[in-house]
Amino acid sequence: MSVKVLLPNAFQKHTNGTREMQSQAQNLPQLLIEIETSFPALKPHLRDEDGKVRRFINFYVNEEDIRFLGNDEYAFKDGDEVLVIPSIAGGAL
């Protein structure tokens, strides 16, 4: 089983320019550990002082916000595309 992970431009400074990776992770907590293991420089930026993933980082699985799929509980399926977006923009009002 493998999922494709797309990383945002904002991460590239800490990932040596890597924009995309394949992962064997079963779920989001596993994926985060894998990202941090692959890119140790990213770790202090990904989590806050309490070790929690920063609130402004959003994860989407096949176009759906992972929070609507069960968040940490969601079990990745083979071929899932995981998109990471920092501080989603949009809106003005």
Binding site: K13, H14, G91
Partner: protein
């Protein structure tokens, strides 16, 4: 002389030079334009502002544009209107409307933010600009880009009101309909902005774009005779406007243009998409994303980018947030039109209905000076009024027929 400005992370404070960038590469939070107002303090006086153009550009020194920028569209400086008849209806005595239903050129508040965003786009040398939009922004980007000769890619959800689609296409804009809700469109736009060298007004130009919202706050203060109101009621979608009006008031205080005063900020959402109101009512510092389901499509953002900042602005100011049903939204559109002659779109219906509730629940005292931000025009959301009015049968062009009609009206009024 304009103030010195640069980008700054809203969480960790890291500074960035001016560039098309919306998130911090250290903590991945959003960026905002920060100013050094020292220079403006000496030169930016009430008298100088009064000599400026009758548009939002009278506050150019407090906007992130180069000193020599020459604006081409007179957006902003919309009427601040006393609203005594609506006030009487809802138990208020000192109520005003900030009427951006007549903001130029596309009849919504979005003309303000796009004016500033496209100034930044030109400054950064973009020949193509775009946005993700719930409609009003699409209209504004299309019109302003046409005037500046910029190419466009404007992305909207498929279920947008027909008027908002037409009001984008008429400017020759390149409109792309996306099979998904606004949050999906927005996510796609973020990806596109990373791939193409274009200026997306509410993605990579967002810090500059959002500054345009401050002009609502400057104008309210100036139109009140250089004083701040007690309360402001503001519609919330992405949540930026409410915190930017607060920022504007703060800058005016810092510049000595108004007396220091704690203005309370009240946020308005539709119940069918109320992540920020939900957070405020439940004492949460961050919102939980929602799947939008409301006729107020211009407010239908389930994951508001500025949600945490809107929550903060409301809580710190001693304000509150409320949400209202779709039925209440339509009634409020009618009530505002019938009492004050202002025809607003669904977002304005939300704000009007929430204002009424805030008075009814005692959140706002009757005598408080309260300004309600009306941000869009009812001509763009005519569909929500379908079936609300009976079409009277045509009469013959004869005075007798007309007299009979008036008599009939009188009888009906007597029966009622």
């Amino acid at each position: 002389m304009a103030s010195f400005y640069e980008l700054r992370c809203r969480e960790c404070g890291k500074r960035f030079s001016n560039q098309p960038l919306s998130s911090c590469d250290e903590c991945f939070s959003s960026l905002e334009v920060a100013y050094d107002l020292t220079a403006a303090k000496k030169t930016f006086t009430r008298e100088r502002i009064a000599r400026g153009p009758q548009s939002m550009w009278r506050y150019q020194a407090l906007l992130p544009v180069p000193d020599d920028y020459v604006p081409t569209t007179p957006s902003g400086m919309t009427p601040l209107m006393a609203a005594p008849r609506l006030a009487k209806r809802i138990g208020a005595t000192n109520l005003y409307l900030k009427n951006d239903a007549v903001c130029l050129p596309t009849l919504s508040f979005k003309d303000r933010v796009v004016s500033v965003a496209l100034a930044a786009a030109q400054n950064f040398g973009f020949d193509t600009v775009g946005c993700s939009s719930t409609g009003n922004l699409a209209n504004a980007v299309a019109a302003h880009a046409a005037r500046l000769g910029l190419k466009t890619y404007i992305l909207v959800p498929t279920d947008l009101e027909p008027a908002k689609i037409l009001n984008t296409q008429v400017y020759g804009a390149n409109l792309v309909r996306i099979d998904g809700n606004y949050d999906a469109v927005n996510r796609l736009c973020t990806q596109i902005a990373e791939r193409y060298n274009w200026g997306f007004v509410n993605v990579n130009l967002r810090p500059y774009y959002a500054e345009g919202s401050k002009t609502v706050g400057y104008e309210i203060a100036e139109q009140l005779g250089w004083r701040l109101p007690d309360n402001v009621v503001v519609p919330m979608a992405g949540g930026a406007l409410i915190s930017k009006i607060r920022k504007a008031f703060g800058e005016l205080i810092e510049l000595g243009l108004v007396e220091n005063k704690q203005v309370r900020f009240f946020g308005a959402q539709a119940t069918g998409c109320s992540p920020i109101a939900h957070a405020v009512k439940n004492g949460l510092s961050h919102h939980e994303p929602q799947r939008p389901n409301t006729i107020a499509r211009s407010l239908a953002i389930g994951n508001p980018a500025d949600g945490p900042y809107a929550i903060r602005a409301i809580n710190e100011s001693g304000g509150w947030a409320e949400d209202v049903s779709d039925v209440e939204i339509v009634s409020a559109i009618q009530e505002l039109a019938e009492t004050e002659g202002v025809f607003t779109e669904t977002a304005g219906g939300v704000t009007t209905a929430v204002t009424a509730r805030l008075y009814a629940h005692g959140r706002i005292a009757p005598g408080d000076l309260t300004v309600v931000a009306i941000t869009g025009n009812g001509l763009k959301t005519l569909d929500v009024l379908q079936g609300k009015y009976e079409q009277q049968q045509a009469i013959r062009p004869r005075l007798a027929d007309f007299e009979a009609l008036v008599e009939q009206d009188r009888e009906e009024a007597y029966v009622r």
